[in-house]
């Protein structure tokens, strides 16, 4: 429950092309937020979608469909509506952290770039799609080897965790990647905090649309960040999701 839970128009002040398919939209309104929290982003007349905050006044968007496409087409001084911030954010209780960003999943991790307790792994399909790697000291991998190591992030993570230096892995990215990364964490017996995605309507825990099986854990309110204990319980994690109608579809 925020003071104001309906989207309020705000002006876009800058748009940055980050990769061929990812743009960062910087807006006027500033949020007091915890890294990992998200906002509901309203494109008037079209739709409203969840987006993690990549800074106090920006979101970083991958163009995947109608709404994200409309966001990519916007120009400074255009207006979007925002409400939030929602969700829990990363708890970061542990001190020796490995952060793993896959594709545009690096966006919600960006607010942690200044955290000196974190070692970074950033991966993407190819060199062009690597997000924010210029901005920090990070291990890099690509599926096609066009930059950094030719490997999945899970391979790098496995190697890092083997050093025994870490007590927490945080991550965001495609759910299949997260599922595999979680296996690695479990093998090394290291706690995980992963940011998940499910179809959202209300964003504040009343429509139930984002609830996951079998516990009814709600991504919008209890998440989007789930820790190992929760991930172990969520039988649908990495397996299936529910669409806009509420129908089950495999990932």
């Amino acid at each position: 429950m925020n003071e104001q839970d309906y989207p309020q128009g705000t002006k876009i002040i800058e748009i940055k092309q980050e990769t061929p398919t990812v743009k960062t939209v910087v807006f006027q309104r500033e949020f007091n937020f915890k890294p990992g929290q998200f906002v509901m982003v309203w494109v008037p007349g079209l739709d409203e979608v969840p987006m993690s905050l990549s800074s106090k006044n920006s979101i970083t968007i991958k163009d995947v469909g109608e709404t994200t496409h409309a966001l990519h087409a916007m120009k400074p001084s255009d207006k979007i509506g925002l409400r939030g911030p929602y969700g829990n954010g990363f708890s970061l209780k542990e001190k020796n952290i490995l952060a793993v960003g896959g594709g545009f999943g690096t966006a919600p991790l960006k607010p942690l770039f200044k955290n000196t307790n974190i070692k970074w792994i950033i991966g993407a399909r190819n060199k062009e799609e690597l997000l924010f790697t210029e901005e920090i000291d990070t291990l890099i991998c690509t599926d096609d080897g066009s930059k950094g190591e030719k490997a999945f992030v899970t391979v790098l993570a496995d190697r890092e965790l083997a050093t025994g230096k870490y007590d927490l892995v945080i991550s965001c990215g495609p759910e299949i990647m997260l599922k595999n990364l979680f296996k690695v964490c479990e093998q090394h017996n290291i706690n995980a905090e992963f940011s998940l995605e499910r179809y959202m309507k209300c964003g504040f825990g009343i429509c139930g649309h984002c609830a996951m099986d079998p516990t009814g854990w709600m991504v919008c309110k209890d998440g989007p960040v789930a820790n190992s204990k929760i991930l172990r319980e969520l039988k649908e994690f990495g397996e299936y999701t529910r669409d806009k109608k509420g129908e089950v579809t495999s990932l």
Binding site: M1, P7, G9, E48, F204, C207, A211, T215, K244, K245
Partner: protein, 301 residues
Amino acid sequence: MLKTKLAGIKLKNPTVLCSGILGTSAAILKRVERNGAGALTLKSIGPQPREGHNNPTVIAYESGLLNAVGLSTPGYKNMEEEWKELQDIKIPVIASIYGGSIEEFVEIAEFVAEKKPSMIELNISCPNTKKHGQLFGFEPDVAGEVVSKVKAVSKVPIMPKLTPNTPKLKEVAKACEDAGADAIAAINTVGPGMIIDIETAKPILHFKTGGLSGPAIRPIAVRCVYDIYETVNIPILGMGGITNGKDAMEVLMAGANAVGIGSATYYRGIEAFSLVSQELETLMKEQGYTNIKEITGTAHE
């Protein structure tokens, strides 16, 4: 002391999850059960798979919520897995259904009755689609026809859910009773209303308008339950803005036998069910009530 009955169905406490709130999957319904609800209502089930409206579909303003979810539904035929999961639930489960025609109501009711829910709620009052719902609840004769036709095919009790947005509320309630309804649920959302974002000069909800719920509408819910209680003899599931034990007691006094909890989950989380029950119990003890029956309808004396 919180036990109550609704059309013969026993509830361990009078708090019932409202349709459309958290009612999308068996998993979340079980979580509501664990949080102390007396009964659960499923999200309204419709004839065909339906996406509902684009977002924003649910927003909050300073006095309540506005929603125009647009009756998103997987369709009544695509829920076998869900029905199976629902078997584990120990408290009564109410299936809510809607149709675009009386025939559709009958078709779905017949199918759903086979799944043996404790009751079927007829959503003849949803203001959020242009074709479906609302019209059925505006006029006594139409409401009565839906009820009697559904009643003919259903072995489980039938509870039409009424809209407060008709000047003919009492007449509609009477027609439902006469047509054989076993209970009445009231109220569905009020209005509809609209909120415009002044920065973009655009209505915020994608459907432009949406029904009001939450604290703002409580006095309207109380009045409707009061009026219905004066008109019919079947039990009433009262809802609309009930957020704490005091509100629950007010709606019981107006004439309800059990109370729906919906938007309260926005204000108080899923804990709303056990919190409202506890608060109600405390108030009952303070005032010397020993069971819910003693409270129902006292405001009419």
